[in-house]
Amino acid sequence: MTTEPVKSAHWNMIFLCWLIACVGTLGSLFFSEVMHRVPCVLCWYQRIFMFPLLFIFTVGLFPFDYRCIRYALPIAVTGWAVALYHCLLYWGFIPKSLQPCTEGVSCADVKLELYGFVTIPLLSLLAFTLIIALLLAARKGLKK
């Protein structure tokens, strides 16, 4: 009986991770497939690290398998790094000459802004950050 609440908390955390990955995946698909905004190169790299998380967390929940934390973390951290780079590019901390997109859609072009500062890469950075935080919290709980 004592292990049950711990397990429940872990389940909740992985479920939240799954939910964030789900919103991130469907949200980015909404931007590209419904609103027809062409994803730039950096957006594609973030998608590459966001989409598989949804599948890893789904498998980790059916049935619950704490090892999914181990598999998801490196993917989430890499995606987070790309998102951070993209945000820095947006905010102008990285000069535009360093940006990898020379043709097609510019990564520094602001396509969507909510409330004046919320951009797509910021949402991506937020999603990756939350997922990493939840995974670390779940891992810490397991180690005890």
């Binding site: 479920f15 698909l29 909404f30 419904v34 027809h36 929940l61």
Partner: protein, 220 residues
């Protein structure tokens, strides 16, 4: 195990929300375009653009196309056949949507051809689309190569090479780009039938919408 139902239900809700969001977004877009049409926005009628078919035709098919776009090339013979089959009830207007590198150059060539007459224009357009795989490689476009395929079109190449830099052509392309932004055209080909966007993208969808629009326009 009950908790896993939460995942299933949430996933279903997420997919449902996506579908609903897509529906609402598209409805809002269509409403915006409908409003522009209602207000009589000039973006829907540009008499200076290339067109085919009788002026008195009651159905206006406007196509935003890119000379370098493969789908536009695929559509072309079907669109032409639909026009022919309509027996003068449909008039086609072409608008340029130069989304690919090098397309601007080819649009200028086409417009220079139009200065030499309607027949020369449509012959040149067919030659350009026919040679598309050669000049319009998206990683290495070579729009200058279109000149190699002008035999049999009746085009005076020397004159066209001069005319293509005419400021009137630049103005027309600029207008098309502005209208593309107004009408939110991001993909080619994009069709508007009497100002209504094509609902079901595809050759059959276009045929069906043209047919229904003709029925409405000619039943009165």
């Amino acid at each position: 195990m009950k908790k896993q139902y939460i995942v299933v239900v949430t996933a279903a809700l997420a997919v449902l929300a996506f579908g609903l969001g897509a529906y609402l977004y598209n409805a809002k877009q269509a409403e915006g375009i409908g409003r522009l049409l209602h207000e009589g926005n000039a973006a829907f009628t540009r008499p200076e653009s290339p067109s085919l078919g009788p002026k008195e035709a009651k159905v206006e098919l406007m196509e935003f196309f890119d000379p370098a776009c493969e789908s536009c090339r695929e559509f072309y013979p079907y669109v032409k056949n639909m026009l022919k089959a309509s027996e003068g009830k449909v008039r086609l207007t072409l608008r340029y949507a130069t989304l690919h590198r090098g397309s601007d150059y080819v649009a200028q060539v086409l417009e220079a051809a139009r200065m030499q007459g309607q027949d020369v224009y449509w012959n040149t357009l067919e030659a350009v689309l026919g040679a598309q795989p050669i000049w319009a490689d998206h990683s290495n476009p070579q729009p200058q190569r279109v000149w190699d395929f002008m035999a049999g079109t009746g085009l005076d190449v020397a004159r066209a090479r001069q005319d293509m830099n005419d400021p009137r052509i630049a103005a027309l392309l600029k207008q098309d780009a502005a209208d593309r932004a107004t009408l939110n055209v991001t993909r080619t080909p994009s069709f508007f039938i009497n100002g209504k966007p094509l609902k079901d993208f595809g050759i059959e969808g276009l045929r069906a919408q043209l047919r229904s629009e003709m029925r409405t326009a000619y039943s009165k």
